[in-house]
């Protein structure tokens, strides 16, 4: 990820995106009835940002945002999970071109593409990257980290499917052209 071609807008998107990430990670984690499982609304946000600004920004916002929020909240980072978040942003960002949100269209086709990509991204992030990182860094037992990974995939995948799709749709809607509107009495 040596990025020589980062535009100024991307730099600012990374800065502000990471700041929003820190705030959302801290204040919008909603506990569920299932123990030790929270609905993290920060992931749909990351998905939106990656879908708008692309893979590079998605990766770096995931990385810096997660690392900073871990640092600020716990004084410790779990690098394997930081990397997983970054990969999640990166893979979703790869679909940015196909989705073309700036055109204001987010129909059934885009919804399906987005959700297929985000599910793949979640699986790679939480079932591959994070557990392998945990095994390499902390030598934790394999079955524990994979079960953790699968539960994260389910909760985050579902959250992005519902909330993320909504966010992307709302963003695309802000790009509507004015020409089609008429006043009514």
């Amino acid at each position: 990820m040596k990025n020589t071609g980062l535009s100024v807008k991307n730099v600012v998107a990374i800065g502000i995106g990471s700041a929003i990430y820190v705030i959302l990670a801290r204040f919008t984690s909603i506990p569920t009835p299932i123990p030790n499982t929270n609905i993290e609304l920060v992931f749909p946000f990351l998905a939106l940002f990656a879908a708008i600004y692309g893979a590079k920004v998605g990766f770096i916002v995931g990385f810096i945002g997660h690392a900073l929020s871990d640092f600020i909240m716990y004084g410790q980072t779990w690098w394997s999970w930081v990397l997983a978040t970054a990969i999640l942003g990166w893979i979703i960002g790869l679909a940015a071109k196909q989705l073309d949100l700036k055109n204001g269209i987010f129909g059934l086709k885009q919804t399906i593409i987005f959700n297929i990509v985000q599910i793949i991204a979640n699986i790679i992030a939480w079932v591959v990257v994070a557990p392998i990182g945990d095994i390499i860094i902390y030598s934790e037992p394999a079955n524990k980290v994979f079960v953790q990974g699968i539960s994260a995939t389910l909760s985050n995948g579902l959250t992005i499917m519902i909330v993320g799709t909504l966010l992307l749709k709302a963003y695309a809607d802000t790009k509507i052209k004015k020409g089609s509107l008429r006043k009514e009495d």
Partner: protein
């Protein structure tokens, strides 16, 4: 000999995203060392002219150019943004976006860092400009600890380090209290003189900008230059109000008294007006003719505050404290005072967003027992930035949100929403997405969304900040109408004339203390109070003093009453 530094030749520009050209066949030449104002309503193209001068067009804002624009000998179509930034320094309207450093010192050094200047040189330059602009003591401060006026000066220092020949100010007065606005203008004038820089100010607040001598005013409307004159010629020409720019108040007053402006050689400021007995007589006559409407009769009290206050953290120097007053049913109250004096804090306390040291009762009920949501049935709060309030896509849904969350039936919701939209003049747009609305319309959507809950008291944070004259008039007349229908309204504002024209009572704050609670016109009588709360007298008062009218305050009141009568006739 004069040197042309900026030249537009038959210049037109059309944004890629728009169907019509924004600038149409512009011809304009600006000389080295001039200080000029580009005025015009929102959407007139005045900011687009600025974007050509600093190179945002065509480097960032893409579009189609015909004709030529030459800045310091360089055609903007052949020059990149970075080269042009050495020629034109820009101070943006939104100081929070302009201020990107973690501290004042870093922010001033930002451009130097990007030029790879060595550290000792940067320190030297930063200290020189900080000293020059009087912000040396702030160098280690974070932006969160500065007032709006201070941020503006930091922004100025941050571009002064380039020592470029052109300084471009994009609506520098929009977010400042009146006293800071005057200070900023004086500072711009001083810098211009010292450096012989070419200064271009883009603003729609003509009167405030004209507090300093200008060489020229360019009046823009609908993408064309309507006038390119000295301020004095422009004021003689009666072009301003036709083109959506407010006349200086003293001129409107002279006109109302039927004084022939063509007979007055210099109109640029109250001081420049001639010492003419005839004018004084006409003004006095006019003042005497106006019958001043009586004071509002006393009504029952709605909101009682006792010892109200809040401290954000231990480091806060002037926390809001010990506010005691009573708001009456039907009041239209303005809350004024310098940035950071505690105005917004007071509103947040009333709405229950933050804790309160004292006691607040509403219709005799202690508010402490009510949650934010319960309070909002009685008290509505409209934030300054509508984008921070809007969470729905469609206008209807945004206005309906509060009702839906309160469990109303859908058909009842529809009736109520339509009714509110009609009051707010938004009914024709009811099926529109909010993203298609202008700023002023968005603001009205947020007001509608609060109004639909039928609160007795409405609180608005700077409802007209940064708005042009038309939007300003639109929003304020709408609020006035609501007030006449019986709503009690409180607004935070920096606009002295708005305060006098629309509100019947003012609460002035300074350093966390309520220092005055009185009639708006009386508030501007006491010099000490004006200074303490960073307020400013309007030119009406100065006019009355200059011509030794019997009672300056009565003159101001007469003017405002006449104004109201015209609007509601």
């Amino acid at each position: 000999m004069t040197n042309t530094i900026i030249e537009f030749k038959d210049f037109s520009f059309q944004y890629d995203s728009q169907a019509e050209p924004t600038l149409k066949h512009l011809n304009l030449a600006i000389n080295q060392g001039e200080m000029l104002l580009i005025a015009g309503p929102s959407g007139s193209g005045k900011s687009t002219i600025g974007h050509c001068i600093n190179g945002l067009i065509p480097n960032i804002d893409t579009g189609n150019i015909t004709g030529e624009c030459i800045i310091n000998g360089k055609n903007i179509q052949e020059t990149n943004l970075f080269d042009l930034s050495f020629i034109t320094s820009t101070i943006l309207q939104d100081t929070d976006s302009q201020f990107i450093g973690l501290t004042v010192g870093e922010d001033i050094a930002f451009a130097l860092e990007n030029d790879c200047q060595p550290q000792n040189r940067m320190k030297q330059i930063v200290h020189r400009w900080a000293d020059e602009l009087g912000i040396e003591h702030l160098l280690k401060q974070a932006p969160q600890n500065l007032s709006g006026g201070q941020k503006q000066i930091v922004a100025l220092a941050g571009v002064m380090v380039d020592e470029s020949p052109i300084l471009l100010f994009d609506e520098p007065l929009a977010n400042l209290d009146p006293a800071s606005g005057m200070k900023t203008m004086a500072l711009i004038n001083r810098i211009q003189k010292e450096l012989n820089a070419t200064v271009i100010i883009i603003e729609h607040r003509l009167e405030e900008v004209m507090s300093q001598p200008l060489d020229r005013v360019i009046l823009v409307n609908d993408g064309k230059i309507v006038a390119d004159k000295t301020p004095n010629d422009l004021l003689h020409n009666n072009l301003l109000e036709k083109n959506g720019v407010r006349n200086p108040l003293y001129l409107s007053a002279l006109k109302k008294a039927q004084i022939d402006l063509n007979q007055i050689p210099d109109l640029t400021s109250v001081n420049a007006l001639p010492d003419d007995r005839e004018i004084a007589r006409k003004l006095q006559n006019w003042q005497d003719k106006i019958t001043i409407t009586g004071e509002k009769e006393e009504t029952h009290s709605l909101l009682e505050l006792k010892g109200v206050g809040h401290r954000y953290n231990k480091l806060q120097v002037h926390p809001l404290h010990d506010v005691t007053t009573t708001i009456n049913q039907g009041d239209f109250i303005s809350i004024v005072g310098q940035n950071g004096a505690g105005k917004t804090t007071l509103c947040r306390i009333i709405c229950g967003f933050i804790s309160n040291e004292g006691l607040i009762s509403f219709n005799g009920d202690d508010l402490k027992q009510y949650s934010i949501k319960e309070r909002s049935d009685k008290i509505g709060y409209v934030m300054q930035d509508p984008n921070q309030m809007i969470s729905q896509k469609m206008i209807f849904d945004e206005v309906a949100l509060g009702l839906r969350l309160r469990g109303y039936e859908e058909n009842e919701i529809q009736t109520k929403v339509y009714e509110t939209l009609k009051i707010c003049g938004l009914y024709p747009y009811r099926h529109w997405p909010i993203s298609a609305l202008s700023f002023g319309q968005k603001k009205r959507v947020t007001i509608a969304a609060i109004l639909v809950l039928d609160p007795e008291l409405l609180i608005l944070d700077e409802p007209t900040a940064g708005q042009d004259w038309q939007t300003y008039t639109e929003i304020m007349n709408f609020l006035k109408q609501l007030n006449q229908q019986g709503k009690t309204i409180m607004i935070i504002t920096h606009d002295m004339h708005l305060m006098m024209e629309y509100t019947n009572r003012s609460l002035a704050f300074a350093e966390g203390t309520l220092i005055a609670d009185t009639d708006p016109i009386k508030l501007l009588t006491e010099k000490a109070l004006i200074k303490k709360a960073a307020l400013k007298r309007t030119s009406l008062y100065e006019l009355a003093v200059k011509y030794r009218l019997k009672e300056p305050n009565t003159f101001v009141r007469a003017y405002i009453d006449a104004e109201r009568d015209e609007k509601h006739a």
